[in-house]
């Protein structure tokens, strides 16, 4: 997998994971917070409803006390006339405004008159325990809930004192939808009054819509009353609610259920969640783009560096990368270019050195393996010189001469290097080569002789008008001579520390040079070797040429010329 892909996946996954985790935590915390707030709100709703209800009841009691103390009403009561008492009750009920029924009953609970239903007159009220409680209380007053023709009423009983307890005035208001709506508006919670047991209950009044009321009633029938917060669903909306029992009417509980919509409360957080999702998606997209761009800014230069390094490894020292930034990648690119430049320079130096000195010497020099002090070695030295080159140079243009010379030297160098020798130097029209230094060569003598024989057979000195070799079949030729000798030399850098040449010096070199001077001149063969060479080349036949004295030596030297390679393994 590509680095860019891995980086993108890694950081993208981290980003998505982090955001999703945050969203999940926010969602969970939001839900807990909202639930807690709803619970507190519902508790406050109960308190508020109780207080509102109590205030209304107390207000009603105060007003009815005024009626109970009104002499006009007492007088009307004293008539014993139902119609008169009823009108008095109606008149006062209208004055009160918040009472929906009033009735007067005697101390035995017999209804004397009422504003609710004339059929109740002469009947006993079913709430004698209510009157008994009032009778036993300190104030003679009592409140209760009562089931009246299917509706639940909050009743208040007040003693009629004429001048002592003579009758009861019962007033009340209905627990109806209007009350529920008013309470709902004040408390910001939905209010439902429920009358009945768990398995048989009905909604008496509610601020909910009809459908939700039905669902609530059905839910309450399936759920045992529990303290605390309960949840139910209606029309795919979740509600949280709480229930308290207000009173027990004829052994049947009358309770208040308050609720709030959890979904509505979570709506702002839900919107926040959607915003978060949108931000997440946007962040992922932006992050992906940024990651790709950032990784590309790293991988692309690295790819380029890799390709350039590969090209350099394959020998292309002109490879380079574009430095497009000032960061670490830019530094790496710049450093790479400098390295390649250095390598190219080094290669040029090596190449140039190889042209100046033998590539093997150049390699040894550059590797630092050649000491300035030098070393004694057993080598073979070959000299090759062009004869009559000077006079011929006079007859041709310098350019033609140089070309011919370089051509000959190229041929000779190629042959010498092919046989493991190194060009020590070019001395005018002569070339000096060494076999067995700077690298050891046990067959240095054989190789030197073979190189000499190859030069004699392959190389030629052709001086012709130079026109990029187009006229090489024209012109004149020169002969050359080769001298080879082997023996000990001192091999090393000759010169100072700041400037030196790698070469070999010693008698062996001198003898080789002298032998070359004889070749093709005093003696006909182009290649002349000394006796030591013959002894080192058992696989080559030599023809003795005689003994000769060499300049600088006191003893005559026996000289030979190779005639035939006998051992082909040595060729």
């Amino acid at each position: 997998m590509r680095f860019q892909t891995r980086v993108s996946l890694l950081f993208g996954s981290l980003l998505v994971f982090s955001l999703v985790l945050v969203m999940a935590l926010v969602g969970q915390i939001s839900r807990k917070t909202v639930t807690s707030e709803i619970e507190q709100s519902l508790a406050a709703t109960f308190t508020t409803v109780n207080k509102l209800h109590t205030a209304r009841v107390e207000n009603l009691q105060r007003n009815v006390r005024l009626l109970a103390g009104d002499y006009g009403f007492k007088t009307a009561y004293g008539t014993g006339d139902t119609g008169t008492i009823k009108t008095a009750l109606q008149n006062h009920q209208e004055r009160l405004g918040d009472a929906e029924l009033m009735m007067l009953c005697d101390l035995d609970g017999l209804v004397l008159a009422n504003t609710f239903d004339d059929d109740l007159n002469g009947q006993s009220i079913p709430w004698m325990s209510f009157l008994d409680s009032a009778y036993d209380s300190d104030t003679g007053e009592e409140t209760t809930y009562a089931d009246l023709t299917g509706d639940v009423y909050q009743l208040v009983v007040t003693p009629l004192l004429a001048p002592d307890l003579d009758a009861w005035i019962i007033s009340g208001f209905r627990t109806g939808p209007q009350m529920a709506r008013e309470l709902s508006t004040l408390t910001q919670s939905d209010v439902t009054f429920v009358y009945g047991t768990q398995h048989s209950n009905r909604v008496v009044a509610s601020s909910l819509d009809r459908k939700t009321q039905t669902d609530l009633a059905a839910f309450l029938q399936t759920t045992s009353p529990v303290a605390g917060l309960i949840a139910y669903q209606s029309d795919q909306e979740t509600f949280l609610g709480s229930q308290i029992i207000l009173d027990v009417i004829d052994d049947v509980p009358f309770s208040l259920f308050v609720q709030q919509s959890l979904d509505q409360a979570l709506a702002p957080y839900q919107r926040l969640l959607w915003y978060a999702v949108a931000i997440l998606l946007l962040a992922v997209i932006v992050f992906a783009i940024a990651t790709v761009r950032l990784s590309r800014s790293v991988t692309y230069p690295i790819t380029q560096l890799s390709a350039a390094a590969d090209a350099v490894a394959k020998g292309n020292l002109e490879a380079s990368v574009t430095v497009s930034s000032k960061d670490e990648i830019g530094t790496l690119s710049r450093t790479f270019n400098e390295m390649v430049t250095g390598l190219a320079e080094k290669e040029r130096v090596r190449d140039l050195l190889g042209k100046v000195v033998s590539p093997k010497i150049a390699k040894k020099l550059m590797s630092g393996q050649i000491e300035v002090a030098g070393e004694q070695r057993e080598v073979s030295v070959l000299f090759c010189d062009i004869q009559g080159f000077t006079s011929m140079s006079e007859q041709h243009l310098p350019k033609e001469v140089l070309h011919s010379l370089n051509r000959f030297f190229s041929q000779v160098s190629e042959i010498i290097e092919a046989h493991g020798g190194v060009i020590d130097k070019y001395i005018g029209d002569a070339v000096m080569a060494v076999f067995g230094a700077p690298q050891d060569d046990p067959e240095h003598a054989v190789n030197a002789v073979k190189a000499g024989m190859a030069i004699c057979s392959q190389a030629n000195v052709l001086i012709a008008p130079h026109s990029d070799g187009a006229n090489e079949d024209q012109g004149s030729t020169c002969n050359f001579g080769i001298g080879i000798h082997c023996g000990p030399v001192v091999a090393g850098n000759i010169g100072s520390k700041s400037r030196f040449n790698y070469t070999v010096i010693g008698d062996t070199v001198n003898v080789a040079s002298r032998l070359e001077a004889l070749a093709g001149r005093k003696y006909e063969p182009k290649l002349i070797v000394a006796r030591e060479i013959v002894d080192c080349c058992p696989g080559i036949k030599f023809s003795q040429l005689g003994e000769t004295s060499l300049r600088g030596r006191t003893q005559p030297v026996r000289i030979y010329t190779p005639t035939e390679l006998v051992d082909h393994d040595q060729g």
Binding site: Q61, T75, D138, T139, P163, D166
Partner: protein, 236 residues
């Protein structure tokens, strides 16, 4: 609790016996003596919680008319209260209402058969009402809600205010009687507990009447004299 006025030697006579009544009595006595011994009735009053029976009126209504008192029975209003709290008068008696307070009272009664309304009178004015029906008459003041007085209008000659049990009536002749018991601490002060019985010659009779009393009278508490505290419903 106020004692029955006619028992007090210094209190005004509750009734005056006419000569014709004396003659009848003697004649009846002769007949009785010639025919039977005087009977006794013992009435046991049983209060469930053993609360005091003070102020209990026991009437034994039997044969014979009741004679209204010749002299008016006085009920005074003094210091924003009625005096006495409980009065027992025979049917047809006159009640004289006096006001010894420095301000007016508005006296009323809504008791069935004995209703009256005397608005705002003050001394030296006196008001009279005649109570023609047997039963309980509750007097109140429309201005001062706590003021209350009870008048037991009896029908029989035999009536006592007692504070304990048993209650005995002696010298009774055989015949049909009705025992009537009332107390201002009844739950329903308009109601009289009635118990019918037949007195038989040669036999002493005993009955038990169950009562259920409150600890105190049903009425508003009179406020402190220095100020009128704010009313907060009835205080019992």
């Amino acid at each position: 609790m106020q004692l029955l006025n006619y028992l007090h030697p210094l209190s005004p006579a509750r009734r005056r016996i006419t000569p014709s009544q004396i003659i009848c009595s003697i004649f009846c006595g002769i007949l009785l003596c010639s025919s039977a011994v005087a009977l006794e009735l013992t009435i046991h009053l049983n209060e469930k919680k053993n609360l005091p029976l003070d102020g209990t009126i026991v009437e034994l209504a039997g044969p014979g008319p009741v004679t209204a008192s010749q002299k008016a029975h006085v009920i005074n209003q003094i210091d924003k209260d009625f005096d006495p709290l409980i009065s027992v008068v025979p049917k047809g008696s006159t009640i004289l209402l006096l006001n010894d307070d420095s301000f007016k009272h508005h006296i009323y009664s809504l008791s069935k058969g004995n209703q009256f309304d005397i608005p705002l009178f003050s001394r030296p004015s006196q008001q009279e009402v005649i109570l023609n029906n047997h039963g309980i008459v509750k007097l109140g003041c429309n201005i001062h809600d706590w003021m209350i007085a009870y008048i037991y209008v009896n029908e029989g000659d035999l009536v006592k205010e007692i504070s304990g049990s048993p209650v005995m009536f002696t010298g009774l002749a055989a015949g049909e009687y009705e025992v009537r018991v009332w107390n201002p601490r009844f739950r329903n002060t308009k109601r009289i507990v009635r118990h019918s019985l037949t007195m038989v010659n040669g036999q002493n009779n005993e009955i038990t009447v169950d009562l259920r009393l409150r600890k105190s009278v049903h009425k508003k508490t009179k406020p402190a004299t220095s100020a009128y505290p704010e009313e907060k419903g009835g205080n019992y």
